[in-house]
Point group: C2
Chain length 294, copies 2
């Protein structure tokens, strides 16, 4: 363990808080952080190996004890709903709030309120396992009023129509389309979580142009055959995925307990993808990348 706990990442997009995976003792780590478990709207589970979800029963029960009545979304493999609902304490009549289960087997994305989009795709881990991609909504473009005037559009109501995506006619009867006078909106930022897995095409797809790609690096290159045998990645694997995905930044996670210091794992990845770091427990980096924008 070397002081590291099991997998769980809190992602905040504006006021929306999501949790990805929930290893044992996640609720205690959450309590030790500055985030309130009660504010979680959605929990995403990658797969059903214990180190990624054995903390979920305790968190769900504690939310109920703390008085939650608001609906909670849980996204995960088909089997998860049945597994959780058979655990004493988590039955429908035992929890004070309802849960919507969204199966990663029968859908591939979910649109939250405020334009937040979550999509997922199968990874290569030997058991059903998905990686997640979380996208902020893009920013709205700005209407260039001077330009619109120069095109002969002067009516305030026409400006509003253009902002709403409609074309308008100018005084000469010419059609002016929004793209002629509205700058393209800034695209929303992307966070991708790709764990546990061997390096794979879907990992690249999920991390495409991400501001932050969190990828597992259970092993270093000297343990390549063990990584392949157990369905995991080396640090170099993760670096290559980040490079091919053209991600801006790579954050490594899920280190084998054999590595006392995760920094040496990150050093290996930096030889291929310089903007790499090793995730640190309770550090706000994964969160801050996406926060306070919308």
């Amino acid at each position: 363990m070397h002081g590291r706990h099991l997998s769980s990442v809190l992602v905040r997009v504006g006021s929306t808080q999501l949790l990805i995976d929930c290893g044992e003792a996640t609720q205690f780590q959450l309590s030790a952080s500055r985030y309130k478990p009660g504010k979680l709207s959605t929990i995403l589970i990658s797969h059903l190996h214990g180190d990624h979800w054995y903390g979920l029963p305790g968190l769900l029960a504690s939310l109920s004890l703390a008085g939650r009545t608001r609906r909670l979304q849980i996204v995960g493999p088909d089997e998860l709903e049945g597994v959780l609902r058979r655990i004493p304490g988590l039955k429908e009549d035992e929890l004070a709030y309802p849960i919507d289960f969204i199966s990663t087997n029968s859908s591939d994305s979910l649109n939250l309120k405020k334009g937040i989009r979550i999509s997922w795709a199968a990874l290569d881990h030997g058991v059903p396992c998905v990686g997640y991609r979380i996208e902020e909504p893009g920013g709205e473009g700005n209407l260039d009023v001077d330009k619109a005037r120069s095109f002969g559009v002067v009516d305030f109501q026409d400006y509003q129509r253009l902002k709403d995506g409609q074309s308008v006619e100018n005084k000469l009867g010419q059609e002016i389309s929004p793209s002629e006078v509205i700058s393209p909106g800034k695209p929303g930022r992307v966070f991708a979580y790709v764990s546990d897995t061997r390096p794979c095409e879907n990992g690249i797809m999920l991390g495409r142009n991400a501001q932050l790609l969190m990828h597992e690096a259970t092993f270093m290159e000297d343990m390549r055959s063990r990584a392949e045998a157990t369905g995991h990645s080396t640090a170099l694997d993760a670096a290559r995925v980040a490079k091919q995905a053209r991600a801006a930044r790579l954050l490594l996670t899920h280190f084998s307990a054999r590595y006392e210091d995760a920094e040496i794992v990150a050093l290996e990845a930096q030889t291929v993808f310089p903007n790499t770091s090793a995730a640190v427990e309770l550090a706000p980096e994964a969160v801050e990348e996406l926060a306070e924008r919308i």
Copy 2:
């Protein structure tokens, strides 16, 4: 939480290690202690409220990952076996070691090797819940050879028969019984764990003449009505149970998070049962009471 973790107590009797209850994160606390989880022979679960067993899946899976092949005993309510075996990662073909489940519903005691006896009885907690009593084997009595000689028993083989519990004849043909020449053995020590429960007769029975009675004191006297409503005890309740049971020492546990300092809970109990203290995480007291004797 106030830094306190959930319920779990390690009991060591000679080289035998038992765990009673297993709240979330118990495996991490065990790793932080000087005891090796791999040495556990038996796990006793009082009831299926999450704070007493949500750490069991993680511990069981970790024992398997750590290479355990030795059989493990789990004592608990009927429902526990089915609940655990349906959890991904804990199925029979997923764990590297076999588990013997012993139902507290259909039996009332278990004799371990080396003369260690575990018995249980129903508590009063609103759901099926048992308290446990763990007894060391008693010490063997000593043959008083001088006394035997004075009774006319001089044959070495007769001494052995007396030690084995048989009567012998002396030179005059009189029958000499073991109790006439062998001192009574020192009784084995007793540890009792009574949690969660309202104060009850079975709690007194389990703690009878115990060297150490660990009893829950979720509340203090000012919260008596809440204790009764939720199936718990106050500190005074626990003290009265200890007094009636003629226990030597009372160790309080399972404090409500409202009490930042458990010492004030112990102070209340001391007014009725002076030899009371509040359990401290990772303190070896519950263990040492029973250790290094056999």
